[in-house]
Point group: C2
Chain length 162, copies 2
DNA sequence: TGTGAAACCTCAGGAAT
DNA sequence: ATTCCTGAGGTTTCACA
């Protein structure tokens, strides 16, 4: 049976999703508690797997990765072996930040980041297109980002207390 | 003129991209330096905008957001006013985690997370499809995730030192 | 690179509900 | 059985030399 979030847990998760460097004390002050219960909740949320990790988010324009592409791939063969093979091999490329097996018209959507169109062209020709079993590769490029959020919105539906 | 990364900066960024809770001392030990230079570099990387922030990554299956959709939208009108209007309004929905203005066949790709297909259906009908100026909405659903990485690979091309 | 003070983390023990 | 607090030792942060 899995741990059921309480209101304080939700508030802690909301805070940490937006800034992982809140100190236990800062959060305790916001929640009107002392440090210990907040400390214990954070540890429990980590232990129970709600928090997968803490990461720094970089500005991709500062590190030569301004080009973002969503590349849609159709395979020829769709046996589970073939699907897993593509998933594993495409995920191995460092340019591939995300790889999703999809329903519908496309088998995979890859999120790819690179410096510019030259590098993208190179990547497709010398890396992605060399994988076997590919039927089509269709690329869409990001012109501008309207929203890029890592924090899930959390609602707390009043649990049955007492 | 913008700050040029040195090898230690790159190594620090790589560490923090994978675990934002490395202490300055831990990183200093890995780099074979004392704490102060590492501390100063981290502050500079933040100040110069390389590090946008530190966030906790949650497990979406634990918080009722297992369904991930990439929704492709075509608009009718493509004036910059209309494009901005859609970008702003769609970004306002909490279900929309990411919103990209794209080149090519589709005008926007939205990454949407929700609990299940019922909620998705509801979202499309009562929220997204009520926005004006939409021509088509095409949804693709994630069956499984092969790779989801927030850390950009960083290479350090030996700068001209000296 | 090292020092030092302030702030914080961590975890024991114990109180209150 | 939880949930909470106090308190104290060890660690981290951060300005300064």
């Amino acid at each position: 049976m899995s741990y059921v979030l309480q209101e304080d847990d939700v508030r802690i998760l909301q805070l940490l999703q937006h800034d992982a460097r809140f100190t236990v004390k800062e959060m305790a002050d916001k929640l009107g508690k002392s440090a210990t219960p907040v400390y214990d909740r954070v540890r429990r949320l980590e232990r129970e797997g709600f928090i997968r990790g803490y990461v720094a988010i970089l500005d991709k324009t500062k590190i030569e990765r301004s080009l973002v592409a969503f590349t849609h791939v159709q395979l020829k063969e769709h046996s589970s072996d073939m699907l897993n093979a593509f998933k594993n091999e495409s995920s191995r490329f460092p340019e591939v930040m995300e790889c999703y097996h999809m329903t519908g018209e496309y088998d995979f959507i890859l999120k790819i980041t690179l410096k510019d169109m030259n590098e993208y062209n190179d990547f497709i020709l010398t890396k992605l297109a060399t994988l076997p079993n590919i039927r089509t590769v269709q690329s869409f490029f990001v012109l501008s980002e309207g929203k890029v959020e890592t924090a899930y919105p959390l609602h707390w539906q009043a649990g049955k207390k007492k």
